[in-house]
Symmetry: C2
Subunit: 299 residues, 2 copies
């Protein structure tokens, strides 16, 4: 479909820029680039491992189309015959427990019934929450949003709070960020503006992470911190496999499993009824895994 | 509800027997017994860790009841006002990669609309498949099934093949076993017979695992084997969070998250596009993760 093709070519080029920047920021590892083709389309999976700072990163582009299945009808609550979709999605898992996990996605979805929409977001999952850095991160997102529409940040920040939420744990995945889905801009200008907004978000992503690497890569850590990171990675796995729409849709629609699950951490742990000590840094982080915290104005 | 209460008291006593046998078989660790109460009911979570052979085991009993939610209506495809349920479920993760993971569940579900059913199963997930032991395991299950009905083993074995299947990987979770759900015995005698069948299965479970410990606990292993175990545990996590009905229903119905997710392995790994060497023991195991293998008659 027409728009999907155009947007796919923009996103595909963006992916390369993002890879180069993250490689420079890490300073050691490079992305392995693995193109794939399946009956539903093609993609380029970029995977980095064993860098200086980055233990594992996935940065995927895909462009797919196919029959709109009954399962998709059920998931999306609408009818169509064909769909096409394109997007970039990325997750980075660092070695240092004082570096956060980050996630970014922008995507465009088009149906042959005339409906189409954008979706996406960026969110940050620190193993240990640094309040000042969470505020800094949210301010960057707000500045990008405000360039386009003053409602975007408050709306999409709230959306992220509700979306990146491990309901069965009653805790947010991290400090949130922004999330939006099924955004249908009305008219050509609004459409182009929203596309430009998603491009700005994608461009901001490697900048944000490179800055976070500079801030945190040399923070010392110990075995307790590594153990806590492993348990928090377990929560990340739970979120991605139980709730994440992209993962569920991808696995359901016969997507490329290895590319979809490159989001999994290199290693994760689970321990029954683990509870950090009162007043520990770990407990302080748990206490901040809540919706509706006003990070931009946090003292 | 009447039947649920009676069955819950039988299952609760069985749980204690099972714990004692597994403790004897392991020879070191004992189950920590953690009772819990929530608005939907109560349970007893038994957790073992750091045994001689068993790295982590969960053996849970629960007895819950509550309002039949719209979500449950959608999952179960029927309408009711109230439900009650009781069951035992267990998973064991061993240290030695040449010991298999095992899982067992028996459960009874009753609605206030007059409908009730049994569900359950036992399945084995070797990190390395030992064909003779898989045959031995299936033969034990077949013998128990055949005491009740010659159709149970073939029917429930096929059901397990289809149920314990990681569709997105196109591989079975392990060598299968038996699985059944929504079994509604007609008449009092058939009901009592089926209850006795679930009790026999629960009793067989610790015997099977204690025998497997005797067979395998002293097999030597190396770092390659441990690495492979960690990756196979990753697949186990994928199965439990993406497909397992008990896990999904439990998380959805506001169950006790820590008890439900005691099924998670102590540690799991993911590696992008990992492929074992041709003809390796790891590849031989992958080649056997298929449906419709006739394990009882395997040469």
């Amino acid at each position: 479909m027409q728009h999907t093709n155009k947007i796919a070519s923009i996103y595909k080029e963006l992916q390369q820029q993002m890879c180069r920047q993250l490689e420079e920021g890490d300073g050691k590892a490079v992305f392995q680039q693995v193109p794939w083709t399946k009956d539903i389309g093609s993609g380029l999976t970029c995977v980095m491992k064993e860098g200086n700072v980055i233990e594992k990163a996935g940065l995927n582009f895909s462009h797919v189309e196919g029959d709109f299945s009954p399962k998709m009808e059920a998931i999306l609550g609408m009818k169509a015959n064909k769909y096409s979709a394109t997007g970039i999605s990325s997750i980075i898992h660092p070695y240092n427990p004082f570096m956060p996990i980050i996630h970014m996605n922008v995507r465009y979805f088009e149906l042959d019934n005339g409906t189409s929409w954008f979706g996406g977001g960026i969110d940050l999952t620190p193993h240990y929450i640094n309040k000042a850095q969470a505020t800094w991160f949210h301010q960057i997102l707000k500045d990008i949003c405000d360039k386009y529409d003053k409602n975007y940040y408050p709306d999409y920040k709230t959306w992220a709070d509700n979306y990146f939420f491990n309901k069965h744990r009653n805790e947010t995945r991290g400090v949130g960020g922004i999330f939006f889905d099924r955004i249908q801009p009305k008219g050509e200008e609004a459409f182009e503006n929203f596309l430009a907004y998603t491009i700005d978000l994608a461009k901001a992503y490697p900048n944000i992470y490179c800055d976070l690497m500079e801030m945190n890569k040399s923070v010392e850590f110990n075995e307790v911190n590594k153990q806590w990171q492993a348990l928090r990675r377990g929560r990340y796995v739970e979120y991605n496999l139980v709730y994440d729409r992209g993962t569920k849709f991808g696995l359901e629609s016969g997507g490329n499993t290895e590319s979809i699950l490159v989001s999994m951490p290199p290693m994760a742990q689970w321990e029954y009824n683990f509870a950090p000590e009162a007043d520990s840094a770990e407990q302080q982080t748990l206490d901040l895994l809540k919706k509706e915290l006003d990070w931009v104005n946090m003292k």
